[in-house]
């Protein structure tokens, strides 16, 4: 417990500072901060689910560069299945399934065929951009979003209250999943075995743990997480499907994963931090507080994440076997 918390400290401090600034800003000007808060909790679930996808994969030894593709594929599948069936939950399930299928494909490439994992992930990204653009048709309508669930009392809290506690089921689910994964990864048999596969696969193998089995299982599970994120993006956050609508969120998620040191709670903090900076950037632009071309404003979140990574990267240690195929001697 001790060293874990010490490692988590920079992230916790970041979160505390962000919260303090946000509350202060809210008291000064609620008209500006409310849309920022709304946007943070609309953007964060995609990022956090995508980062969890990357994290579960790398903890088990599979580097997943194809998260971007998994998000886009599931955004596409989720939206069109929901439009075709008229049932949004069926759409969500289809999105999760399509993410998991791409996860299985990544595992097939990485574990069975032992293709370089970066190349396999890139193949997924290119394939998905192509296929979704090709099959894209305009004018489909989704049956409307899921109804938000309002938590009494909590939703009356200032600043984040209305935005966070009047969320849709998937947004709540993403937060629950953060905690579930934290416990699963560090306090269950599955977590210990998964991490051993990602750190020292032959140690796992020699005590009878199936390295390939865990890598397949976890890459598929992780794909399902990204799938949920993609479905949320098209069905909830935006409400429609656009070509290439994921706009590099999958790659941002990898940065968030590193920022979060491959730990779910910290990754969640990272996702909120990133979502906040990008929401802030658009609000500043909207208010015309700063008069610079929008391209520069849009860069801001990435610059901040880079800065944070640069400051903390020195002490970051990825799972030792991430990206390496396991070959029995």
């Amino acid at each position: 417990m001790g060293p874990g918390w010490r490692r988590a400290l920079p992230g916790l401090i970041t979160v505390a500072v962000v919260v303090a600034v946000a509350v202060l800003a809210y008291n000064l000007n609620p008209d500006d901060t409310t849309p920022v808060a709304n946007r943070v909790f609309r953007d964060a679930p995609v990022l956090v689910l995508a980062a969890l996808c990357g994290l579960v994969g790398e903890r088990t030894g599979i580097v997943n560069i194809g998260i971007e593709g998994q998000l886009l594929m599931s955004a596409f599948t989720g939206f069109y299945v929901a439009a075709a069936t008229g049932n949004i939950w069926v759409g969500v399930l289809a999105g999760v399934a399509s993410g998991a299928v791409l996860g299985l494909f990544l595992a097939l490439c990485a574990v069975t065929w032992q293709i370089d994992q970066i190349i396999a992930g890139t193949v997924i990204n290119i394939f998905v951009i192509g296929i979704t653009s090709f099959l894209y048709t305009q004018g489909k309508r989704s049956p409307g979003g899921l109804d938000p669930i309002e938590l009494p009392w909590l939703s009356d809290l200032p600043f984040a209250g209305p935005a966070l506690f009047r969320s849709t089921p998937i947004a709540y689910l993403s937060i629950i999943l953060v905690f579930v994964l934290h416990i699963a990864l560090f306090h269950t048999r599955w977590g210990l075995r998964s991490r051993s596969v990602g750190e020292h696969p032959s140690a796992a193998d020699t005590v009878g743990i199936s390295v390939a089995g865990y890598r397949y299982l976890n890459t598929a599970l992780a794909g399902g997480l990204a799938g949920l994120g993609g479905a949320f993006l098209s069905l909830e956050s935006v409400g429609t499907f656009e070509r290439n609508m994921t706009a590099n969120r999958g790659f941002t998620a990898l940065a968030i994963m590193i920022f979060g040191r491959w730990r779910p709670l910290l990754a969640w903090a990272g996702a909120l931090f990133f979502a906040l900076t990008s929401a802030l950037a658009s609000q500043l632009q909207f208010n015309q507080v700063i008069d610079v071309p929008p391209q520069f404003i849009n860069i801001l979140p990435f610059v901040l994440v880079l800065a944070v990574l640069a400051v903390f990267a020195g002490s970051v240690r990825p799972p030792a076997a991430a990206g390496q195929p396991y070959v029995k001697e």
Partner: protein
């Protein structure tokens, strides 16, 4: 196939215990080699069976079949009298077989308890219960004398303790049969003695042990029965009382081997290498060499003895220009090379037989011939202006593979395709024929078979006799004692003590290696008669 020759058919007569594990006529073929050819061994309950053999003799293949990592092509394995087919290591573990692998199978970022319970986790409901595992580990630690802090991270533990974690890992799974694959290779003499004691205790309490080693001394000290493998066959089974080290060695190699490095008295000349107050850090930035002084003279062999990880690697890399020097000086034949590059140092006449030959010794995708001129490829006669001179390179290579008995002789073979011993011979050939003033040999015989060890040692002594300064760094204390004229003991980055080899007893050096200077001073300086160091053991 005939029964393997048994030198002493009554070996097992003394052991009336029931059979724990038996291999009958096991054969395992790989594409290019028959690794095990009709191998049969017997292990009784509470017995310690030593498996001796050179590298490539088939020891590892045999135990991998017993542990379910390989499937035998022919023959059968009997567990407590019943034929079994082991379906992977998980199956072997369930049947009560534990194995401590030569390369530790521990997750560095996990605690000792997490490593020990991995795959057999203690849980309450769906959650891990590290406290319960810790209690059980504490209990086992006490019972078997294997001290381990369950909450310590494995990467912070010394090698000897990591090994105790490995053994506890097997015992935690209630292993009744324990396979130890070269467990003493990484231990200090004191840690080795401790391990041998633990093995005897375990055997006395009913655990059956297969002990793989190439150190004859240990096999004789601890085993009830010794099986010797050569070329994939069991060439003899014997009791320690019925044989001696020379007998075992010739059984391993198939001919008489000189266990002793025969060398006359050296004639030390001028100082070739002088190291003053050297400070070097390791990869993580911690002090590895910490104020080290050392001198090596022409015509003498200085051996550095020490437990691995006490700065030997960093010292050698600093001497060769492969690692930045924080403080201090290195003077080579009167020239200060503290800031010199690897190439400059090489040109000044320093040859280096690296510890990690796969990484620093050769280019695996180049031919043997090219590797033999790796440091001189751009000089005449191996180059004419900008062009390489293949005639000269090939003549040179043909000459060296003949003189250094590299097998196979093909100079166009890819270096990566050669066996470990022959790779090492190539490196030795290159480094000892480029006119060195100082030869730095780091673990020169690691992973090399007995016959090649004898040869490489001979070459190093010949260099000394030709007036070259030789610095030997080895984790094998016996190798240092056999080769060196003077022994320098390194501990935590400093030379604890330098002494003529005649005053360096195993016991004294062993205590110094563990940092116990006070005890070393009272230790006897001279070996007991039957305990003469010999390089092969």
């Amino acid at each position: 196939m005939s029964e393997p020759i048994r030198d002493d058919p009554d070996v097992h007569a003394a052991i009336h215990a029931p059979m724990a594990l038996e291999a009958r006529h096991l054969t395992k073929r790989f594409p290019s080699v028959v690794a095990n050819d009709d191998v049969s061994i017997e292990l009784h309950q509470g017995e310690i069976l030593g498996l001796l053999g050179e590298n490539g003799a088939g020891k590892s293949t045999l135990v991998k079949m017993l542990f379910g990592l390989y499937e035998p092509d022919e023959g059968e394995v009997l567990l407590r009298g019943e034929p079994v087919r082991m379906d992977g290591p998980g199956d072997a573990i369930r049947r009560g077989i534990g194995m401590v692998h030569q390369h530790f199978q521990l997750v560095p970022v996990f605690t000792a308890a997490e490593n020990i319970m991995l795959g057999a986790e203690a849980t309450t409901g769906p959650f891990l219960d590290p406290a319960a595992a810790g209690r059980r580990i504490g209990e086992m630690s006490a019972r078997f004398g294997l001290r381990v802090d369950p909450d310590a991270l494995v990467e912070d533990l010394p090698v000897g303790t990591q090994q105790r974690v490995e053994i506890l890992k097997a015992l935690y799974r209630e292993a009744e049969i324990l396979i130890l694959d070269e467990p003493t290779a990484v231990l200090t003499p004191a840690e080795t003695d401790e391990l041998l004691g633990v093995m005897k205790d375990l055997a006395a309490s009913g655990t059956s042990i297969i002990f793989i080693t190439h150190k004859l001394r240990e096999a004789i000290a601890v085993c009830d029965t010794i099986a010797v493998l050569r070329g994939g066959k069991v060439v003899g089974t014997t009791a320690p009382a019925a044989t001696d080290r020379a007998g075992l060695a010739s059984m391993m190699v198939g001919r008489d081997v000189s266990l002793q490095v025969t060398k006359g008295a050296g004639e030390p000349g001028d100082v070739v290498l002088a190291v003053q107050q050297l400070e070097v850090t390791d990869d993580r930035g911690h002090a590895a060499v910490n104020g080290l002084d050392l001198e090596v003279r022409a015509g003498e062999i200085v051996g550095i003895a020490g437990v691995e990880g006490n700065g030997q690697r960093e010292l050698v890399e600093a001497l060769c220009g492969m690692r930045k020097i924080r403080h201090g000086h290195i003077v080579l034949a009167g020239e200060d090379t503290t800031r010199a590059t690897t190439r400059e140092i090489n040109r000044l006449g320093v040859s280096h037989i690296p510890e990690d030959r796969e990484k620093h010794g050769f280019v695996a995708s180049y031919s043997v011939a090219t590797n033999l001129v790796l440091a001189r490829f751009d000089e005449p006669p191996y180059a004419r202006g900008w062009m390489r001179n293949f005639d000269a390179i090939e003549r040179h290579a043909s000459d060296l593979v003949e003189r250094f008995d590299v097998r196979p002789r093909g100079i166009h073979n890819r270096m990566g395709s050669m066996s470990g011993g022959n790779k090492q011979k190539c490196i030795v050939a290159r480094e000892l024929t480029q006119g060195a003033r100082l030869v730095i040999a780091s673990q020169p015989t690691r992973g090399v078979d007995v016959g090649s060890i004898e040869f490489i040692h001979r070459q190093l002594v010949d260099q000394r006799d030709a007036g070259v300064a030789v610095l030997v760094v080895s984790a094998e204390l016996d190798e240092v004692l056999a080769l060196a004229d003077r022994v320098a003991v390194i501990y935590e980055g400093r030379i604890q003590s330098v002494m003529p080899v005649a005053e360096a007893s195993r016991e004294k050096v062993g205590l110094l290696m563990a940092g116990d200077v006070a005890a070393a001073e009272t230790a006897p300086a001279v070996e007991a008669d039957d305990d003469v160091p010999s390089a092969l053991l």
